[in-house]
Amino acid sequence: MVDRVTSLFAGVLGVDEKSLNDASSPDNVSEWDSLAAMHLVAEIEEVFSIELSTRDIMRMQTIGIVKSVLIEKGISERDIT
């Protein structure tokens, strides 16, 4: 079973969960365009009930970084890995 972050990305991007990993980024996932990035931020904020700073948002260039940002925000590791 994949983790919650990856499955959230798969849902918003409309791709198969198995095609994504921590290294997935806008450079290697064509569905991850600027419009998708906007939907991803809205979804992450709602699902994890957090508010991301613009600094965080600009940093989040891979799924792996998104996970570490969430851990920094106090989301427990168990919840996202």
Partner: protein, 598 residues
């Protein structure tokens, strides 16, 4: 209704495997001075929950003026979307002119000219596109100098904004076909601070929080739904713990809660809202399990009652099931149960009605009584884009109808008809009739031969077209006016034959021979135009079976190859001779108008 549809819930609905099955579809084109893509899932979610599947396209960022001037480069005008929604802000479209206004301390001429250019662009769009156009009112600018938090700056920003807003409203009023979405009011209701999200503005050129986008989406959905559906006609109310607190049968007239103090105040305010709806033409009825004298006692004698007996079109008080009461109320008022809204505090009653009469909109009185006065408004059940004269007079007409009914019971059918002094006037529609004609075209179900629904701009177009003629009929009798109650659209066919594309009458004039009078006058119109033949068409629906034999009864012959009904106009015209009512016709011939009385 809005509050329990969170952004997350709306998105889940769209992804869910068990999403509701839509019964109709619609298409919408969004264009804005801000990024609008995040609105899409929320509009789709709201509409899907109302049974409509929406196909939404978002235009390129900040090209509203270009879009209005050259819609053909953005949408296919041959197969246009059902609705176009334009969302704009002053600071995005006209930033320099806005800044200039702040410097000058008034709405600059430059800004007025810019606003005029947008109005002009919208007027041009109206000529090319006949669907629904929704345009937002300009919200309070989110720019330096307009901050609501600046102390000591006087009221300059606010003052300028008020003037801009007033100027816009005055100008947009010249385009009544446009549906205004009051974005500023929506922002105020949500709170300026909680509607906006500076992060999203800077990252995506999208200034609003997701929760607020869901609210905008709900307003857009409501406008679209109001065009598609007729509003509910009647609210059926329970009494105990709905119109007042407590149980009148146990607590007595002095024991129930109704008055100036909470919770009595909340019930009173709820009644005031109901009275407001009554004045807008919504009928009120009572379905209560009680002794009728207890209920009437409260209506007649309780000082704090806002609603009185005269506001209630029908009382069903007894110990029968609410389902039976609702059916009887619909019968008595001559409306379908699908026009009813049922309000009750008893979950069991509401569940039973929901199960056995799913077409009735059921509302459970909120557990928190403080929310009672506002909970009806947010449902959108009574949304109506344009209030017509008929709506405002409906309650008076219902009373006239009750007087007629009393009279009718003592006479034979024929005696009754001739006692009414019925006058039927048929006329070619003018601009002031269009709103009511559109309303009838879209909501008449029973006496409607073809049930072709049309938007207001489509009707306007037909009224202008040389191949079509749009007629309406107004009826009065000695008890009062029935108002504008019928519509007919004639379409010219080859060789002096006219097709009756639309023929409909409001239920309230049925059984008075108005339909025969109307038809015979249409035949005369055809003769006056030099034609000789009328073609009737019947398109069956689940609700219009009562007119199945309408053309047979009026001497038309069925033509099996065309599937239509044919008759000599001269023959149909003679039908008016047997009628007791007075008939007149008012036609336009070029710029002349002509009145015929028969």
């Amino acid at each position: 209704m809005t509050s329990n549809r969170s952004p997350q819930y709306l998105k889940q609905i769209l992804r869910s495997d068990q999403k509701p099955k839509p019964s109709e579809t619609t298409s919408i084109y969004l264009a804005g001075s801000i990024t609008l893509d995040p609105l899409v899932p929320y509009i789709c979610g709201h509409l899907l929950l109302e049974g409509v599947s929406a196909n939404i396209e978002v235009g390129p960022y900040n090209q509203i003026l270009q879009f209005c001037h050259q819609p053909e480069t953005y949408i296919d005008l041959g197969a246009p979307p059902d609705a176009i929604c334009l969302i704009w802000r002053i600071e995005d479209l006209f930033p320099t002119a806005l800044e200039r206004s702040l410097v000058e301390g008034r709405v600059s001429d430059e800004l007025k000219a810019e606003l005029d250019s947008l109005i002009e662009a919208l007027a041009r769009l109206l000529k090319r596109y006949s669907g629904i156009i929704i345009v937002t009112t300009p919200p309070y600018p989110q720019r330096p100098g307009f901050s609501t938090e600046e102390v000591g700056q006087g009221l300059l920003g606010g003052n300028i904004y008020q003037n801009i807003s007033a100027y816009w409203l005055q100008q947009i009023a010249s385009l009544p076909q446009i549906q205004s979405l009051d974005l500023q009011a929506l922002i105020l209701q949500h709170g300026i601070a909680s509607a906006h999200d500076a992060r999203k503005w800077y990252m995506y050129r999208q200034p609003y929080r997701e929760s607020f986008l869901a609210e905008i989406a709900w307003m857009i959905s409501r406008i679209i739904l109001a065009q598609k559906r007729s509003p509910r006609k009647c609210i059926v109310l329970d009494c105990d713990n709905t119109l007042w607190g407590g149980i009148v049968g146990e607590d007595g007239i002095t024991g129930i809660q109704l008055g100036e103090d909470f919770p009595g105040r909340a019930y009173r305010d709820f009644q005031s809202l109901l009275k407001h709806l009554y004045h807008r033409g919504i009928l009120l009825a009572i379905a209560s399990k009680n002794n009728s004298e207890d209920v009437f006692n409260v209506f007649d004698k309780h000082d704090a009652m806002v609603l009185r007996r005269e506001h209630i079109a029908c009382f069903e008080i007894g110990w029968d099931s609410k389902v039976e009461s609702l059916k009887r109320i619909a019968d008595a008022l001559n409306i379908g149960t699908d026009s009813l809204v049922f309000v009750d505090d008893n979950k069991k009653e509401v569940d039973e009605v929901e199960q056995r009469l799913p077409e009735v909109a059921c509302l459970l009185v909120p557990d928190e009584i403080a929310f009672l006065p506002e909970f009806l408004g947010a449902t959108g059940l009574f949304d109506q884009m344009q209030l017509t004269e008929e709506d405002r007079n409906r309650s008076r007409m219902i009373q006239a109808e009750q007087m007629r009914e009393t009279k009718k019971s003592s006479l034979t059918e024929e005696e009754f008809k001739s006692s009414l002094d019925l006058k039927v006037s048929v006329f070619e529609v003018e601009p002031q009739h269009i709103a009511r004609v559109t309303q009838l075209v879209n909501k008449t179900n029973q006496f409607n031969l073809t049930t072709i629904r049309r938007s207001q701009s489509e009707i306007e177009e037909l009224a202008r077209s040389a191949e079509h003629r749009v007629f309406a009929t107004e009826v009065t009798d000695k008890y009062g006016e029935y108002g504008l109650v019928g519509v007919a659209i004639l379409a010219q066919r080859e060789a002096g034959a006219w097709l009756i594309d639309t023929l409909l009458l409001s239920c309230r004039v049925l059984g008075r021979d108005v339909e025969t009078a109307f038809l015979s006058v249409l035949a005369d119109v055809v003769l006056l135009t030099g034609g000789s033949e009328l073609i009737g068409r019947f398109i069956p629906t689940s609700k219009n079976l009562q007119v199945e034999s309408f053309y047979t009864r009026h001497g038309f012959q069925y033509n099996t190859s065309s599937g239509d009904w044919h008759a000599e106009a001269a023959l149909v015209r003679t039908l008016m001779q047997g009628l007791t009512c007075k008939i007149s016709l008012h036609v336009r011939q070029g710029s002349e108008s002509n009145i015929e009385s028969y």
